[in-house]
Structure formats: C-alpha cells, structure tokens
C-alpha cells in the first residue's frame, strides 16, 4: 500500500515513473489510459481480481492500439505483396 512498500520509497517512485511513461506513450500516439498503476497489498486478492476485470473492460472499450493496427496493416500488405509475386 502507499507508504508501506517493502522497498521503502519503491512504490512512490513507481508512481512517478508510470506518470512519466504515460507522457511518453502519449508522445508516440498511444493513449496513456492504456497504462495504469494501483497500490495493493499481497492480501488483497479479490481487489486485484476486480482491478484486472475493470482494466480489461477499459482496454476493450478503447479498442485496438494504434501500434497493433499498424502492425496488422503491415502484415496484410506484406501478404498481399507475396500473393502478387
């Protein structure tokens, strides 16, 4: 939990790093909502399951990432080129 990390400031540093990463993702056109951070203790299994469900629903609602779409497009055009050849 926040302020109770085994590595002292580990989880508060992680929060800052995730914020920084969100900015970097945004810079390359990836919605920063695709990344998140939660404070949890090892004894919160049910809450972890809830978070996973909620996050999966959020990602489903956002749809495929632009990276995935770009890779799919590249794959399709490579296959089309092969067929022509």
């Amino acid at each position: 939990m926040e302020g109770q990390c085994h590595f002292l400031e580990g989880n508060t540093n992680a929060v800052k790093k995730v914020e920084k990463l969100k900015g970097l993702l945004n810079m390359v056109g990836v919605d920063p909502e695709r990344l998140d951070f939660y404070h949890l203790s090892a004894a919160q299994g049910p809450r972890w399951a809830e978070i996973c469900t909620e996050f999966t629903e959020k990602i489903n609602a956002l749809g495929p990432s632009p990276i995935w779409l770009a890779l799919k497009k590249k794959k399709e055009s490579t296959e089309a080129e092969k067929q022509v050849a």
């Binding site: 970097l24 390359v28 770009a70 497009k73």
Partner: protein, 220 residues
C-alpha cells in the same frame, strides 16, 4: 557533472527516420545521473522510435546499447562489433561523446539525442543547476566559493550590480544574485576584507578566446 536534456522527440525522429538501421547508444555516466542519456534512457528512446516507425510504416531496424563513457577509447571495446555493424548511431551522450563517436567512426553518421545544457550539480531528485563554465582560471578562492562567471547573469567580477534586489537577480526572481551569495558567504567566513579588494581584469585568454583548449600530462 555534465548536464544534458533530451531533444524533442519529433526532432530526433526527423534526424534518423531515413536510415534502414540505427543504434541508439547510451552513455552511462554524467547524462545518466540526470536521467537523460544513460543506457536505460537509450532503451526507452529506442522503444519509442520503434513505436513511431511502426505507426508511420517506416522500415527501420533499431537496436539499443551503451557504454559507461563515450568520451574515452577503452570503454568502446564492449560495443565495438555493435557499432561497426551500424548504419547510423543516435548518441545519448553529451556533445563530447557525440563528437568522440563521430571521430572514431568516420564513415558512419552520428546524431545527437541530447542538448548539452551545462556543467552543474544535483540539487535534489531531478533538480540540476549550473555551477561552472570551465573558464580556465578559477577564482572561487577569493569569492567565497561562489562562481560569478557561471552564476552571475552579467558575469561581473565586482558585484553586485544595480539589478540586485532582495538577494535576487533582475533577470528573474528565481535566480539568486551571485554577488549577494558571495557577500553572505564571505560574511559567514569572516572574510569581508576580501570583498573590499578589487578583482583585477580577468584573463579571458584561458576561456574560449584562444580557441579549443587542451592539455597533456607529462610522462604519459
């Protein structure tokens, strides 16, 4: 240490996007301390460039790596084969490291990922301030350990000037008046008599006036 700041991502992308292969190369000493140019930052920047390349449909193979210092020959041994096989290098070192790589690999393009900003200290996490301009003729011994060359906006030697107000510089309220700091420090040291002495005209020939500087140790 040398402080650097990553260039805007778009500027970096424009420099490298026309290559078919690129090595993003970190320097794990000074610029790693300011979280801008270390091997870890090279890895992150390489990932971002791959993401941009994928989205723009640009076919470029990007690898990442790094060494402890890009300004000394011996450190390059571990990265020799990686660099020799590269079409181009994006260096996350300071300007010294970028030039060093360029000199070592004459036929390979080398691009700077950082703007080298200043010689400074680490005030706290993520906070860096300029403290030295490598003027080549240090006078810290008579200014109470405060450098007027790097910390006074006007670089004057007999300050403060009329722009000093409440310990701040007229340039910005966020900048301390270097000469106020000098006076405070000399007072604390009981050396205000030093302040009354006029500083002779500085010998700027030891700064950049004589062109690029160098020196060699005898016996090496």
């Amino acid at each position: 240490m040398i402080v650097g700041e990553q260039k805007p991502f778009d500027e970096v992308w424009e420099m490298v996007k026309d290559h078919k292969q690129l090595t993003v190369f970190g320097c794990n000493t000074c610029v790693a301390v300011c979280h801008q140019g270390g091997n870890k930052e090279a890895e992150i920047l390489a990932s971002l460039l791959r993401m941009r390349a994928t989205q723009e449909g640009v076919d470029i193979e990007i690898q990442d790596g790094g060494i402890e210092r890009q300004c000394e020959h011996p450190f390059f041994e571990s990265a020799k084969s990686m660099l020799e096989e590269s079409e181009a290098v994006l260096s996350l070192a300071c300007g010294i490291g970028v030039q060093f790589v360029a000199e070592k690999y004459m036929s390979m393009p080398v691009y700077p990922a950082l703007n080298t900003t200043f010689l400074g200290d680490v005030q706290g996490d993520g906070s860096f301030t300029e403290k030295c301009q490598a003027c080549g003729d240090c006078i810290l011994g008579v200014t109470g350990g405060i450098c007027p060359v790097s910390r006074c906006c006007k670089r004057i030697f007999n300050g403060p000037c009329g722009g000093s107000s409440n310990g701040k510089c007229e340039i910005s309220k966020d900048i301390d008046c270097a000469w106020q700091l000098v006076v405070d420090r000399l007072e604390a040291l009981g050396k205000m008599a030093e302040y009354e002495k006029l500083t002779p005209i500085k010998d700027w020939s030891k700064d950049r006036a004589g062109g690029p500087r160098s020196f060699k140790l005898e016996g090496f």
